[in-house]
């Protein structure tokens, strides 16, 4: 029996984008949990001073912090210089008023979501914003790191970190801003996951799966 394919397959996310997406998701998850501990150590004291509870959680926070920093840099690079222009193409939608209107209407259950690239305009602007937040949380994180670890990378970053610390008005303020920015991620993640699931259901295409498989499906007309 021969079946006629009802959908066509489109390749939208390169392996690099998918891998970085999940690395970033993992980093954000670990960083938020360990970050809450660092801000308010909620675990009870261990039975022995040899068990460095704060030390290990800080270690995890630093490892995943560097992970997030690396991914953030790589994603900024890929956005501008990737051979696939599927992300950059969305910029056309951002510049088009009608595209904004059609996206906002489609979110309110009116009409289709038509777009030139892989993202809608509101989606694109949100991703740009969260990328900038990521940049700032990485910078403040590195400044905090350099103020604690003085050898190696911390030492190499010391001069610039001291300058940033002074510009921000002291280490306490760096720490406070770092904490505020985390909330942008928490709120973003909740909306992001909902919108990914919802748009897959509403517009009958592959949405959440795409960031795993790289492919989207659209119904043939």
């Amino acid at each position: 029996m021969q079946h006629q394919a009802t959908h066509t397959r489109h390749y939208i996310f390169t392996p690099a984008i998918r891998i970085f997406h999940w690395l970033r998701a993992l980093s954000i998850f670990v960083l938020i949990i360990t970050g809450f501990y660092l801000a308010w150590p909620f675990l009870v004291a261990p039975s022995s001073t040899d068990v460095l509870v704060q030390g290990w959680l800080r270690f995890a926070h630093i490892i995943f912090g560097f992970g997030l920093t690396a991914v953030t840099i790589a994603r900024f690079y890929l956005f501008f210089f990737s051979r696939h222009d599927i992300e950059r193409r969305s910029f056309k939608d951002v510049m088009s008023v009608s595209s904004w209107i059609s996206q906002l209407k489609s979110y309110l259950w009116v009409g289709h979501l038509n777009k030139a690239g892989v993202y809608g305009p509101l989606q694109f602007v949100t991703y740009v914003a969260i990328s900038i937040v990521a940049l700032f949380i990485c910078i403040t994180g590195l400044v905090l790191y350099a103020n604690v670890y003085h050898q190696g990378l911390g030492g190499a970053l010391w001069e610039i970190s001291a300058w940033i610390t002074a510009q921000m008005g002291g280490l306490a303020y760096v720490r406070v801003i770092h904490h505020y920015l985390m909330w942008a991620f928490i709120i973003f993640v909740v909306i992001h996951v909902y919108m990914a699931v919802w748009s897959g259901i509403r517009f009958k295409h592959n949405s959440v799966d795409s960031i795993v498989s790289g492919y989207d499906y659209h119904k043939d007309h």
Binding site: A39, A45, P46, T49, A166, G170, L171, W183, F203, K204
Partner: protein, 378 residues
């Protein structure tokens, strides 16, 4: 020549220059020490300790000892602005005269409102005389913030009613070096806390010269005398950090050298003052210690003849040597994560959770509406 040898040569040159100047005190430091029961051995020990504190190698202790003896050749003018005199207290109020107080006594102190006998017109004359006679070579120490609102009218000093702003600007003009003693002079301190009605500022914000900031409320007597000694010895400023504080004193965080640091890394925290953890000397982070954000040498130098310091006494550091500490480090008995935001009286976490809750409600409403919405036509 390596840098230490060059610095040593510079110190020798400076001390030879000072030696040629006539002493301003009739009694030598040696005599003063003898009168106060301080032995030569104590003096040598003090010189070695001072050398180590200034992060210099041991051979420099000869220079330190010599510089201490020649301190009476360096004119020092000490101004009081909007302050509590706590910094002067830190320096002079010790239970017995030790070498730090003695050096301060020995240095050619030309003007210090708390310590001088003169008052009124006579005091004003002394200041004007000192500023004119030692122009270009006196060391200026300022204690207290400078009110700048209303053209500085919130602080007027002396019989001529000059504003603090006016006096500091004039004194800074002819100073060889300027030291801001304490957080108020360095960064404005408590007077500059929100909403700062008097427009209080640190000295470096009102003069256009490099100012050494000795943060601390008060700074320890060691940090004050050490800075004076460095200037006497070399005639120049020490290496300074991001907020122009001497690196030898403010190069490390309080947290880095804290005796309770092991407790921090282990995750052993005092939950409330007076609990078992507090008795066992656990880390004070959760009851508000700001040592992780504060640069100072309190854990190693301590206060009052190395007797104690806040964390040893059982209360967290409140970050008094940092700029804007009164606002930034509040609440002093809660960690920064539990800080209440100005005007909202809620923590960032509470606000974040409320926004998150609103987001979830919005998403829920959208999801429910989606169930009833007209399906998308193909």
């Amino acid at each position: 020549m390596d840098t230490h040898a060059a610095l040593y040569a510079q110190g020798q040159q400076r001390l030879a220059y000072l030696r040629a100047i006539a002493p301003r005190q009739s009694v030598s430091l040696e005599q003063k020490m003898a009168d106060n029961g301080i032995t030569r051995r104590d003096f040598i020990k003090w010189s070695a300790a001072m050398t180590a504190m200034l992060a210099l190698p041991l051979p420099f202790s000869n220079l330190v000892a010599e510089a201490a003896e020649l301190a009476d050749r360096v004119p020092l003018i000490w101004l009081h602005m909007a302050e509590c005199t706590g910094c002067s207290e830190s320096l002079i109020r010790t239970d017995s005269p030790n070498l730090d107080t003695l050096i301060f006594d020995h240095i050619s102190l030309e003007y210090h409102e708390t310590l001088m006998a003169a008052s009124g017109w006579q005091a004003e004359e002394n200041l004007e005389h000192a500023l004119a006679q030692y122009k270009g070579r006196y060391l200026l120490a300022v204690e207290g913030a400078i009110p700048t609102a209303n053209n500085g009218a919130f602080l007027t000093v002396g019989c001529k009613g000059h504003t603090g702003l006016q006096i500091v600007k004039e004194a800074a003009e002819g100073a060889a070096a300027i030291i801001s003693v304490g957080t108020c002079a360095a960064f404005g301190g408590v007077q500059a806390a929100y909403p700062n009605p008097t427009g209080a500022k640190g000295v470096h914000e009102v003069v256009d010269k490099t100012v050494i900031n000795l943060g601390g409320c008060p700074p320890s007597e060691k940090n004050i005398v050490g800075t004076l000694m460095y200037f006497i010895m070399f005639g120049k400023l020490p290496a300074l950090d991001m907020f122009n504080r001497p690196k030898w004193a403010y190069g490390a965080r309080v947290h880095d050298n804290c005796e309770r640091r092991g407790r921090f890394d282990a995750g052993e925290f005092v939950e409330t003052f007076g609990d078992q953890g507090a008795k066992d000397g656990y880390c004070l982070y959760k009851v508000g210690c700001k040592g992780p954000y504060t640069y100072n040498n309190c854990p190693t130098e301590r206060f009052n003849h190395h007797t104690s310091w806040p964390v040893l006494a059982g209360h967290g550091c409140m970050g008094c040597s940092e700029p804007n500490f009164w606002d930034d480090m509040a609440d002093f008995e809660k960690p920064l994560g539990r800080q209440l935001l100005h005007g909202i009286d809620a923590t960032a976490d509470t606000i974040g959770a409320v926004i998150l809750g609103a987001t979830v409600v919005g998403i829920g409403a959208h999801a429910v509406a989606s169930v009833f919405a007209k399906p998308l036509e193909d």
